[in-house]
């Protein structure tokens, strides 16, 4: 599913964000990516949906060889990856429904099918009744649910979540985690970067620890392992 071979990433300012990372993630896996701030977690995530390109090494995601992926084919890759951020990144002037529908419009889904499917996923994330609201009229947790609905509406094979609970209170965070767990249970690969120790230690999954640009730990049912 996701295959990284000796991946290096050096930014133009000379920062070495990743130094020879090799990781394999299989279909339907759930992987936490943990580590201190600035260790390279975000770079690791961005490489998956090709917001960044590696300076060295090979990455393949979902059968796409990212080093050979042409600029104009990037959209095709991204349609198979649902991305979730700490700050939700919803389009501010669109309603919850429109935000989710947007991801389907992009792949030219007929409106009839789209309407049905959007309401279906909004129902799944528990926001069917708030479909007509704009992000500013929703709570943080609700906004993140809309973002999740948008991420899964096209049935992607991978969900990439960069600290999805970072801005949320513990109770809301658990709600989000249950959703991600359910999505994973249905067969979608989930890669999630997090600082939330309680979640990692309670909901036991594979843990990938990145420190100073390198994978220092890779456990199948791992723990958070940091004291902060």
């Amino acid at each position: 599913m996701i295959d990284m071979q000796d991946v290096w990433k050096t930014y133009p300012n000379g920062t070495h964000a990743l130094k020879g990372v090799s990781v394999q993630i299989d279909r339907s896996e759930f992987v936490y990516v943990v580590g201190p701030s600035g260790a390279g977690k975000s770079t690791f995530m961005k490489l998956i949906y090709r917001e960044e390109t590696p300076s060295k090494g090979q990455i393949s995601v979902n059968g796409f060889n990212l080093s050979k992926l042409k600029q104009r084919n990037i959209p095709l890759l991204r349609r198979n990856i649902g991305v979730i951020f700490q700050d939700y990144r919803l389009l501010p002037k669109l309603t919850a429904y429109e935000n989710v529908a947007f991801a389907m419009e992009v792949i030219e889904t007929p409106r009839r099918i789209m309407k049905k499917r959007v309401m279906e996923v909004l129902d799944l994330v528990g926001l069917k009744s708030k479909a007509g609201r704009e992000p500013s009229q929703l709570s943080g947790g609700e906004q993140q649910r809309v973002a999740i609905a948008r991420a899964i509406v096209n049935n992607p094979s991978v969900i990439v979540a960069d600290e999805p609970t970072g801005n949320l209170d513990p109770e809301t965070s658990w709600g989000i985690m249950q959703l991600l767990d359910e999505i994973n249970f249905r067969g979608t690969t989930v890669v999630m970067a997090t600082h939330n120790r309680e979640i990692v230690n309670t909901m036991r999954k594979r843990v990938l620890a990145i420190e100073d640009g390198q994978v220092v730990r890779d456990q199948l049912r791992g723990e958070y392992g940091y004291e902060f």
């Binding site: 104009r72 991204r78 389009l91 419009e105």
Partner: protein
């Protein structure tokens, strides 16, 4: 792209105009202001050109004929001048008519003596109008040269206000040049003003574009609604400008129609409005399309 998607782009583009409320109004206003400046300048220049043309047309060549020449020779000269390609029209003024004109401008006393003894000292003459005013000196030269091929030297003198006419042409030409420069400068200014406004509205939306790219939108998919939005804003601005300009011009024309002056009247609106509308609306369309295309280009590389 299928039909539904195209429809979607139009729907989104239109909605975006309203979603961006004040930003759309700002862009529209900057287009109105720019096109208004350009339009007013253009109308002024067109009328100045018309006025300059009128002034130029008043320059004519007086060809005085030799007192001794016969009717047949006069006809030959007329024939020769008429055949010159630069000449638009000419009229014959007989010595009697000349004297009459003189009487009217100088008074009876001045011409009385001539009439009494029947010695009219005035020659017959032709008044020659040319098509292109600036060819006057050249045509005058050609008419003088008619003497070269005729031993009788039928042409006594050729006069067109040498010196004065050239100065006048210089001035009218300068007015035209200045007019064109003003229009070009304003056009350039309008472009910068509009490009800047659009840039501001788009920078505010770069995040939006980045999100679209993240969910897998192609550049073309992102560009279309922006393009439609830009064209709508541009055309609306142009339509407002056009309404104001045409109404204003109509009032000016109305004000002039009360005057009975042969010197100057504005270009009639009836001849003007169709191509002027096409021009202003066309500019609105181009500005809108160009502005949105240019401005989002650099944000698409995410």
């Amino acid at each position: 792209m299928n039909f539904n998607t195209l429809l979607r782009h139009f729907r989104e583009g239109t909605k975006n105009v309203f979603r961006n409320g004040w930003m759309s109004v700002a862009s529209m206003l900057s287009i109105v202001v720019s096109l208004m400046l350009l339009g007013v300048a253009l109308l002024l220049v067109l009328n100045l050109d018309r006025a300059a043309d009128r002034i130029d047309k008043q320059v004519e060549i007086s060809v005085y004929l030799n007192l001794e020449i016969t009717k047949a020779e006069t006809d030959i000269i007329e024939q020769q001048i008429r055949e010159m390609p630069e000449v638009q029209d000419m009229t014959f003024v007989s010595k009697e008519e000349g004297l009459e004109t003189m009487r009217q401008s100088l008074g009876d006393a001045m011409v009385k003596g001539y009439e009494e003894n029947g010695t009219n000292p005035l020659p017959d003459m032709f008044k020659v109008q040319v098509i292109e005013a600036t060819t006057v000196p050249f045509v005058a030269e050609k008419i003088s040269a008619l003497n070269d091929s005729n031993p009788d030297k039928p042409v006594y003198d050729v006069d067109y206000g040498k010196g004065t006419a050239e100065k006048l042409f210089k001035w009218t030409q300068a007015i035209r040049t200045v007019g064109v420069v003003i229009v070009l400068a304003l056009g350039l200014m309008a472009m910068f003003l509009i490009a800047n406004t659009i840039k501001v509205t788009i920078i505010a939306r770069r995040r939006e574009i980045a999100i679209m790219k993240l969910v897998g939108a192609t550049n073309r998919f992102i560009r279309w609604p922006f393009l439609i939005e830009g064209v709508l804003v541009g055309m609306t601005g142009a339509a407002i400008t056009l309404a104001i300009l045409l109404y204003g011009y109509y009032r000016v024309e109305l004000a002039y129609s009360g005057w009975d002056t042969t010197q100057f009247t504005p270009l009639p609106l009836g001849d003007l409005w169709i191509w002027f509308s096409v021009l202003i609306l066309g500019l609105g369309f181009l500005i809108g399309a160009w502005g949105s295309t240019i401005s989002i280009r650099k944000f698409l590389k995410v």
